[in-house]
Symmetry: D3
């Protein structure tokens, strides 16, 4: 386990500046478990270290009103967090009667990103809804969600391919898709922030890319000091490395 390695390194007097003792360009251990629950057409448990998200893909015939008769399909996402996925309990959104602003932002991001790797025309008039439910949070829930959601989406597409009445017109998946966070922590660019880093980072950036190296979304926010062009470049380099590793893991899981 990496923490053991870092313990050994620390015993040798070799330390990194990150709370987890990871290298600046080192991701947490990532695990992708398919077929996690039994009902959904795609069901994936994705883990980025201690961040754990259940991503399920549900296939429904038909599309929302604005697409009816267009021949085009739809992919959308919803995001939630169990009340005690975090260090202290958050009120349940269903009980409060409203999804919070953060939830709304994240689920829109997930849906938009997934649609970017899809040819919705080829999907036919089917709707795939991806539910990303965080059961344990330790930073990076939105990037883990997108990375896991892509795998669940692929399983749902496989389900549709086998379905004679599914109305698909060829493979709607255009490319791979993954997401990772980068940031400036203690003045240095780092890859895949965990909660300890995220909560005190100067800059937090989420990068979503295709397996072909194109940017789908870049969202970089200065939490404290504004960041420079050089810092932006360094963060993007880290992100490219991480995305490339994640795309490989996704394909391995899907093999």
């Amino acid at each position: 386990m990496s923490s053991t390695i870092s313990d050994q390194l620390q015993n040798l007097g070799v330390t990194t500046f990150r709370p987890s003792n990871r290298e600046a360009d080192q991701m947490r251990e990532v695990r992708i478990t398919r077929h996690f629950t039994k009902h959904a057409e795609g069901s994936v448990l994705v883990e980025f270290g201690d961040t754990k998200v259940i991503c399920t893909a549900s296939v429904e015939r038909g599309v929302p009103r604005f697409l009816r008769g267009s021949g085009s399909g739809w992919v959308t996402a919803e995001y939630g967090m169990l009340p005690r996925a975090t260090g202290s309990r958050n009120g349940r959104e269903a009980a409060r009667g409203q999804q919070g602003g953060r939830t709304v932002e994240i689920q829109r991001l997930i849906g938009r990103s997934l649609r970017a790797c899809m040819d919705l025309k080829k999907l036919g008039e089917n709707t795939i809804t991806i539910d990303c439910d965080v059961i344990q949070a330790d930073g990076g829930t939105r990037t883990a969600s997108i990375t896991g959601a892509y795998v669940a989406l692929r399983d749902a597409i496989s389900f549709l391919k086998k379905d004679k009445h599914g109305a698909m017109k060829g493979d709607p998946v255009k490319c791979g898709l993954a997401a990772i966070s980068v940031g400036i922590y203690n003045g240095k660019p780092v890859l895949d922030l965990d909660y300890a880093e995220d909560s005190s980072a100067e800059t937090d950036m989420n990068v979503i890319m295709t397996s072909k190296g194109g940017f789908v979304e870049v969202q970089g926010t200065a939490e404290g000091e504004p960041y420079s062009q050089d810092e932006l470049n360094a963060m993007l380099e880290l992100a490219k490395k991480g995305i490339s590793e994640l795309c490989e893991m996704q394909e391995k899981a899907l093999a």
Copy 2:
């Protein structure tokens, strides 16, 4: 897989009348996994066959307004189901902006039942909130929730016992507590209905009892034909057997 075994049994002429080939008084396999997530003071994954519920207990100092200054603590529960815990996707309650009637009923039942095994005075002015989140449903989610919630509650109490500022006044747990469903299926009383049985049972009854054999709650509903006193008695006998087995498993898990 059990269905294959039952197929083989049926080929051999050995059948029971239940879809799962269980005996009338046989529960599904029950698994209780403590410390399932890392943040909560109590966190239990409880499985009744394919029904899987995450039960977390969150401890907060202070009590709701109506108890302030009373010296008494509070135990409450919330219940939810991931949208695709079931065979077809249910709209997310947070997105619809309201908890459904079934959800409200179940979480009130869980909270009321848990309070029945507690001396709230001894708890001191602490609030324990139990979240029961169903990640996979196959019948009996409310009885699995109560059975798992009790274990999570016990872990939360242990946490409070170690806490010098916890304000507890002795052990607030008065007894064990578990819940099981019984019903009339195909004209016969059965224990622990799964979804296949539940959806076509004539009568569905949830029984919640203490480890000492007292009834905390009995809720028996005729879905089709009304049930007789004899049927009621037979169902209660089955329930007592099931509760007794569950209480043993809970203590074993807590040991």
Copy 3:
């Protein structure tokens, strides 16, 4: 005033243990007034002592979406309480923008119970909505509601019978239906708890039965100590007696 009488009785050494001086198996005075308001197809004022509920039955052509084209009808119920039906004013649910959990539970129970005495196929594609509105509360509002709602339902069925376009296929009413509360008060089983008893009873149980003696719903909750099998049996015996009396009164009112 009855409390004065009971004081006098107590002075004479004649006491019962109930605040109302009723015998353990004695119901409050029950009154059933049909045609209470003029617009509804069925309109009943039901009184269990000081508990007063207006039950109206409204007939509408057509059924909810999930039944369209099935040939089957639907019976549903809604429950409400005037803000000052109780000792201190409760906030109006319409103003708060949400029905409370207790309201939701009760109206689901009423609807489910009424459907148990109906052959919905014979009702044809009609919907009967029963509104139970408590104008004065003194314990037992849900059992009074069900008992009165049954009478209003019967009047609505009579209305439909006379209606040539009503689409009914024979009499959909399978049997009589009434509800009564029982409980353990001061350690003894009692019938038809009023508010003074209900608020300090050890156990509160609502029993809904058909006129043929079958159980439609049993809901028994230990508010304090769990109850034993013997206590359960004793409460059910009382309930049977009460239900039988109520069914007689209903038929008399309908005659």
Copy 4:
């Protein structure tokens, strides 16, 4: 009974143009029943013909935030209608999760009108909430509500007068208050419109006046053709007559 009189008149060949055969300046039979329910400090059933409204007054110590420490009291009102108070069932506002625009308008009018006859300084820091719940509607529910609410308010004031801790500083009631509708029906001014008239009147006007003859509120709406100054004057004359009769009935009921 007035309908008998009109029957007799009709037999004599004397008819009026109103569906109810009332004279243009004739109100429906008005009944005011105090102490209608037992819990509220004031409880009145008011009937304007077939329009029946329960008006209860609830006294609470303290005032809303914006008045705290001002020494002044508050009077407010809420309005509701049972779902089947009308010819066809209206969805329950509590179930829809919102009070309709009409409800909001009416309850603001009731509250504002009642405050106009009160010296809130003399009320002391008490809040009186008037609930007007229509159990049967036949036109004029808002004017019946105000007229009945005034009587309930007076009973609540009497309650406070007897209360040593009530903090009142003299009698806060400045004058009598009643409300009546007038309108242009079939081209002629009429008093106290019932539903048959209201639904096809050219103009509908609600007038609220004190017992001293001052106007508290005039709301006149042309439903079809605009109305002239002469018509306005004629309607106000009818209103004055009606208000004067109502104030007398109120005082008689309170005597």
Copy 5:
């Protein structure tokens, strides 16, 4: 500018009793600017002194469900206020999740008034929605809204006249329409109350009339003392004068 005139008057020792130094029967300066925004079929900025309201008219094909197939059109209105249109910031209604009672009342009044000058049959199955958004408030926002909305409505009608597919059957506008407030301020009847007057007036009355001199709506509320018949008459005289001037300005703006 009128304030300069009043300054001069004051220098000359000639003063009126109004804070703005206006005469009792003098309106504020009224400005009507058409084509204020570019997208709407009708867009008007209306200013009554410092009260500024954007009124837009949006034309949509089709009508609400209750009118479908009737051949009749619909005119409706919505009203809003920017949070800082007033002296201190009011919470945004969209953020609070509900329109306040005052908003609901005003938008119902605007819609009802506009429909009074329309022949909806001639409009055909089109819906015109008028949005009145107050960007700066200084009293009289509802009367300014109605006055401006009428002009926007006229522009929308002109748009429909040019539209070959618009389904209109002749000119649906029956007459002009304007609204003005009057009141009793410092014991005297005044025309067009600004905020300084409105907030301390004894009586506040909104009058809506057609260009032909008919009353569409009169709403007069005694905020303090009830008002007499004479005061009512005096206020109506002032209103007639104001409405007549406003109707002229509207036609001039539309020319």
Copy 6:
């Protein structure tokens, strides 16, 4: 009309590829009007071509609960759009009872960006709420909002500086702040997209920077094809140019 001009230009062989005939690095005409409404401590009408937003800053004593006693102030923002700010009418969020996801995202972005140029400690326990209300939309409403909001914020700070009881501890404004959109349109990077471009751009990026050249937020979304690193760099260069021009205009307006 500019399209005619561009047609003529194109006939002359002079073309740019943008619908507005702007150069790739050319912003629309920007206008900043201070003191637009009279009540707010800061009130700015900002126009980016046909996009028009009213930005008001409201100062309130005190801070939200989570900051009480911290000595720190708060800056927050709300965003809204008049229903007919756009080509077809959008339902009013207040009437629908909820702010949409897009609204929530934008107002969180505005608030976060403004806080990035503030030293909240120096602000003292004051809250400044910025309302950005779009009265006409033609693309870029969020960047116009931020740019205008900064000016309104500065005016609110000036108001607080003059206020002896304002509790400020020095100037809380750390630097200038502006926002601009960039994108890939027809395969080429462009500055300040209007609606015609925005609705068909391949990539849309919002950039928020300080006057010192630091990035506060970068949000770049591929609407169609993913974008490359080179395209990202080119867009950021355009953004820097635009921001620099905007910061100059802001200071000029504030001078």
